[in-house]
Assembly symmetry: C2
Homo-oligomer: 228 residues x 2
Amino acid sequence: MPYTYQYPRAALTVDCVVFGFDEGELKVLLIERGLTPFKGQWALPGGFVRVDETLDEAARRELEEETGLRGVFLEQLYTFGELKRDPRERIVSVAYFALVKLALSQTRAATDAADARWFPVSKIPKLAFDHLTIFTTALERLRGKLRYQPVGFELLAPKFTLSQLQHLYETVLGTSLDKRNFRKKVQSLSLLIPLNETSEGPGRPAQLFRFDPDKYERLTKKGFNFDL
Amino acid sequence: MPYTYQYPRAALTVDCVVFGFDEGELKVLLIERGLTPFKGQWALPGGFVRVDETLDEAARRELEEETGLRGVFLEQLYTFGELKRDPRERIVSVAYFALVKLALSQTRAATDAADARWFPVSKIPKLAFDHLTIFTTALERLRGKLRYQPVGFELLAPKFTLSQLQHLYETVLGTSLDKRNFRKKVQSLSLLIPLNETSEGPGRPAQLFRFDPDKYERLTKKGFNFDL
DNA sequence: TGACATAGTGTCTATTATACACTATTATCC
DNA sequence: GGATAATAGTGTATAATAGACACTATGTCA
């Protein structure tokens, strides 16, 4: 135990709320804890911040170690510092929220985690620590961001139809939207590039689009406001 | 040095970006550091988080110790965790942003601070650590919040005129607003209670108002959206 | 009492949001 | 190969909201 300090220090962790959208549902990735405390319970992926990595680095590392996910959209959410949030000792956790193109991604359980599994946000099991509070905060943030920032595209495959985009908005926001008005609004942003491809499946094939992040960047710098 | 741990730990601090509005200007409260590092330079008020207090408690305590301020609007902003942000060792800082009814408040310098002083946001001196980054983040947040949350009232005295409110919005957002349209919009929210008092000073006395936070709470729960 | 300083007020127009229903294209099944 | 099922795609009329715009009102002070 070679690390000594003049005053007691809280330990620092990161925890990630990872959202995915699949089968018409918004889902969250949870891991089954392999170690005490709360061994066997479901929890958010996360772990201790090393002294030689930034918070963002720690979040990405833990995410990959515990779930196998890489290269996802990741953003700091809030820092939770209640005194008894961890039964072992004083632990402050910097929470992140992540968005995953679920259809494409492979997840796996690894290191310290017995299992990793996607849960619909309407069927979250009992969570370890204060992870339910963190999850709730993240869900509110996602709902808030969806309207005025182009984060929805992070949850869809790179090529998507307007119907898929609309279903995403309806599911996450819990509302129902008028098809014609939605399409009008989306198209008026001119941030979607129509591809020379159509979707497969039953019914009439649909035009596929991709989001144009560069154009969004340029417009943002000119004071443009995304709003759906 | 009695506190030893198995792994090295970052130290945890809080830093506060305190905004006030006075003489038609948006100002920030800075302290002159009395100790190394950066002794003699200006910095945000803040300090180490004790192991037996929450982050919010630490922010309020440091704010009072270093500036004498109590009972102000305080909200967590962002957590800064770059590796070399402090030259001494690895320090992670949870930043807060605070809004003060400046006209009323008394500030004083204290503990570890040689001086505390209000600076117009357009004339910020060179700041210690990464405090300029923190300040910039806070200013962006304030501008963003002003439009869709009733935070402006936290910067005004409890009794204020519509002109004062408008000037606040114009100054912080850096725009100029139409008087009649602004008043129409504000009044349509019906969150201001007219008082049986008028303002002093040159020109025609103005109706004084106060903000009704209870009504705002009630409306918020019913899905009301503040928007100015 | 006149000049100065600031408060307060309404209408018309343009823009944006909302409500609303049918036709089009593909695959499948008989 | 024609009917059916499934989903895509399209336009207009109305309501609501936002924006432009200029004069009168009320107090103080010289």
